[in-house]
């Protein structure tokens, strides 16, 4: 972290010794005064500023477009091999919510052309997922706005059909999307809290509450593998199919499939496909 914003009362170095700049005394004091809170805030600001330049959910593009961005053959070859299967992708904004946003869009895309499935998702949110939130001790006052954001999207999807999620009133609606992402984050956290025996062994001594607050409920914190596994089980209506692309020597991508612990009311909307490159998730789509 090295930002000029830290040096609000920075003064130019005053002396040089053999051409080497000597930093003024108060500069090092300044550095010491930068507490964790300030570092955290500045890092966030920087990330936000970078991320705001990109669309929340980009247009559907052939994977060959992405392959062309790479020179490194280990990445390029894997993406090209996937592209040859006719897959498309949607770039998702890298704001720390990419996996969550990709799953949100992927879910809406799966059910969007089927009004009954949209209705079913709505009633599951209302009954099943809300029940998990209550059971995990979430306060209604704290979650109802976020559930409402998700309802609102589902209502528009029912009223307008699948073109709704292609329209700017959805694609550029930060508030509705982000509200629904918090909803997904909350039900994931609630699922972990109500199934703590299954998750505690993976947390390396951190408490469930701390892990959930820091990694799942906190907005703009990237999803790790455990969060995604829990998200799938919390939703209990889809599986996740993740293609991992990295700099390894293998010819093709590595695929991880995450299935829920169970499907609620035998409701299986299908599989959401994600593309993972180190540090970022995008959504994969069939032609």
């Amino acid at each position: 972290m090295h930002s000029p914003a830290n040096y609000h009362d920075y003064t130019e170095p005053t002396g040089t010794t053999d051409g080497v700049m000597t930093p003024p005394q108060d500069d090092s004091e300044d550095l010491q005064q930068i507490d964790d809170m300030t570092v955290y805030k500045l890092t966030r600001e920087l990330q936000d500023n970078e991320a705001n330049k990109r669309s929340l959910i980009g247009s559907k593009l052939p994977l060959s477009v992405l392959a062309n961005e790479y020179v490194d053959p280990s990445f390029k070859n894997k993406i090209e091999s996937m592209a040859s299967n006719g897959l498309y992708y949607r770039p998702i904004r890298g704001d720390g919510n990419c996996a969550w946003r990709a799953v949100l869009y992927g879910l809406l895309d799966l059910i969007g052309s089927n009004k009954e499935q949209c209705q079913l998702m709505k009633s599951l949110l209302q009954n099943y997922h809300t029940m998990i939130l209550d059971e995990a001790g979430f306060e209604k006052i704290a979650y109802e706005d976020f559930i409402d954001s998700f309802y609102e999207i589902l209502d528009s999807l029912i009223a307008q059909g699948p073109q709704y999620i292609e329209s700017n009133s959805f694609l550029e609606n930060t508030e509705l999307q982000n509200g629904s992402i918090v909803c997904l984050r909350f039900i994931t956290s609630a699922y972990i809290k109500t199934h703590s025996d299954s998750y505690e062994p993976f947390l390396e001594g951190e408490s469930i509450d701390s892990y959930c607050a820091r990694n799942i409920e906190a907005f703009s914190v990237e999803a790790d593998h455990l969060s995604l596994a829990a998200l799938v089980s919390a939703l209990a209506v889809v599986s996740l199919h993740i293609s991992y692309i990295d700099g390894s020597n293998t010819e093709s991508e590595t695929i991880h499939i995450l299935n829920p612990d169970y499907y609620v009311d035998q409701t299986d909307f299908g599989s959401i496909k994600l593309l993972y490159r180190p540090g970022h998730y995008d959504l994969l789509l069939d032609p």
């Binding site: 507490d35 955290y40 805030k41 979430f138 306060e139 006052i141 704290a142 918090v182 906190a218």
Partner: protein
Amino acid sequence: MSPGRLLRELGQAQNELPEGVIALEVVDDADLYHWTAQIEGPPSSPFENTIFDLTITVPDQYPIKPPTFNFKNRISHPNIDFKTGDICLDVLSDKWSPAWTLASALVAIRQLLGSPEPDSPLNVDSANLWRSGDTSAINALTRYYIEKYN
């Protein structure tokens, strides 16, 4: 975010407050983003039997971003800035969750009064004192500043 959440929190605060939170209200009815609160020092701590005033500034993006709490009067505590009243508490920064409310955050601040974390200090002198474990010195200094400033 819509102001609905803050309006509901205000409504809830008018009906019931968690234990140890004495008051939680907006400064001006027309402005939901500036609040004041009072909490009671936790029992069996040097802060007991004292009421502390706080100001709360709520950001536009609340509850996605955390509110800022400040003690109004000077207080000697390892995690509270002596001059500004800023509070160093993980749940108000990197462990903030939109599942928290203003009321539940106040409960966490009250707990912090009774259980400081001297390893992440905003007040080094107070942190050193707490680390020394010298209970009578901690009590004396804490009470001295409470009498002086509160």
